[in-house]
Amino acid sequence: MKIRLLPLTLLAALVLGASAMVALPGASYAHQDREQPLAGATLRHPAGTDALGRDRLVRVSASLLLSLAGALAASAFTTGTAAAVGALAAFAPRGVAWLVMLVCDAFLALPWLFLLMMVRSALPLQASPAHSAAITFLVLAALGWPACARAVYRGGLGMKRAEWVLQARASGLRGSQMIRQVLPNLLPLLLPQFLVCVPAFVIAEANLGALGLGIGEPLPSWGGMLLELDNSALLFRTQWVYFPVALLILVLLLLEAIPVEA
């Protein structure tokens, strides 16, 4: 096995393990074992339970799956939007390109997490857990594209001056036909953007959750589990409260170690 595929393999193993844990009969992230709140590791609860007696391993597994699925979907949406906007700006008349890039700069003029927090707080905070998860990742997807679109725009500008594009334009290819030819050639640029967005979105979701603006309870999320660390009384009872943070850092390290070359 090639060493560069190791992070991806480990990540796939983690996802498989988490899926198996969530799919186990009787495993539920919301089930409360009221007899055993804040329990240590036992056979029944291998990573202990939280303050409400919910199995920590099942919750961590579910949050891993939810966070990865949400981040992947948001990243795909962001990359698609960035490809469309960037290609449009690169091949459109100068005025349109200037306007599109101005809008991108307006988004980029605000720090990413601040912008996220502002938009997320403008949306309903008392939404159902499933809605809050959808809203969180939709907000991430909707705000993540400008930086990526700028990169695509620069790549597109370079391609616009390429000889084969000049030849195609001289041969009378229409705009829509040109875009169809150009987009596949932007893939080497889009794949790294997609892979860079995934860990960024996972981190953003965790940060939003820690500020109380993320996914609502009882759905498990990294941010929600970080909030557990705020309760110092829990920390003296069990060391397993650190388990979600440790796993989150491992997942992020693996995501960042995935080779980004196309």
Partner: protein, 285 residues
């Protein structure tokens, strides 16, 4: 003359960006589904009063252009509007916190840059030591700011400055490393090193001037990184700065306060990128 035109163009673009941010933020907050709602509505003691206040607010903010004019008027008067939550001019809320946040940002950026520069210099000069610095930098980048702040709080060591400077250092280290490595590979520097000229002299006379432009651009990015970390750090460490105020305003839909902080951040980012983008041109102008 060309430089002046460029400067005027950059200024006009920065102003346009700030204006766009203002319009966008106002629209966003006004059209938010929860704009005319307040958590205090649930409380039997405050419910009726809050509902009356919200209905007045609804009547006042019925037209978005009027809202924009009112917000802009607040800025022109110099008080930046009146806080919906506290009922005082926003300037009074922001003033004392600006100093706190400014101090925090300045100390964090200085410490972060000092750490990143030292590590990048050592790595660029001695390749064997690369892993010693790269491993912690990679690890730090994989830790969400909120988690880092919480762990620092639990460990009882380190404060907001340490968290923000570590974040800035980890992010800038990789860029600085790349810039310095490229700089050291210049043929005239290889020749000078082979002739045994002292590193300090080479750094001061050749490397620093050559990479000044890139360092300036990186400084602009560092500010954005630090500002991004501001909200979780100030909220978790209970620092009475702008980040905490922004979080509080966002949770309570306090539009004037949120708008004022948003504009300040947009101003800081656009002016820093404008200044850091063309230091060479400005020097020679």
């Amino acid at each position: 003359m060309k430089q002046l035109h460029h400067l005027i163009g950059s200024l006009a673009r920065a102003l346009l960006l700030v204006l766009l941010v203002m319009i966008g933020s106002t629209l966003l907050v006004r059209l938010a589904p929860g704009y005319l709602s307040d958590a205090r509505e649930m409380d039997a003691h405050y419910g009726n009063t809050v509902r009356a206040e919200l209905s007045q607010e609804g009547a006042r903010s019925h037209s978005v252009p009027e809202m924009l004019v009112r917000e802009a008027g607040g800025w022109l008067r110099g008080d930046a509007g009146v806080s919906r939550q506290f009922g005082v001019p926003v300037r009074k809320l922001i003033g004392p916190r600006l100093a706190v946040t400014g101090g925090l940002l300045l100390r964090s950026l200085l410490l972060g840059w000092a750490l990143a520069l030292c590590a990048a210099l050592m790595t660029s000069l001695r390749r064997q030591s690369g892993i010693v610095w790269q491993a912690p930098a990679t690890l730090l980048l994989a830790v969400p700011t909120a988690a880092m702040a919480t762990l620092c709080l639990l460990a009882g060591g380190g404060g907001p400055v340490l968290v923000m400077s570590l974040l800035v250092a980890a992010r800038d280290f990789k860029f600085l490393c790349r810039i310095l490595r490229q700089a050291w590979l210049e043929p005239h520097l290889l020749q000078a090193r082979a002739q045994g000229i002292r590193m300090g002299r080479l750094l001061a006379a050749h490397v620093a001037p050559a990479i000044a432009g890139q360092l300036g651009a990186l400084a602009g990015l560092s500010l954005v990184t630090a500002l991004s970390a501001l909200v979780p750090v100030e909220v978790l460490f209970d620092v009475p700065g702008l980040g905490q105020l922004a979080w509080n305003a966002a949770m309570n839909r306090d539009l004037p306060v949120l708008l004022a902080i948003t504009l300040l951040m947009a101003l800081a980012v656009t002016s820093s990128s404008m200044l850091s983008g063309q230091p060479g041109e400005w020097e020679s102008a």
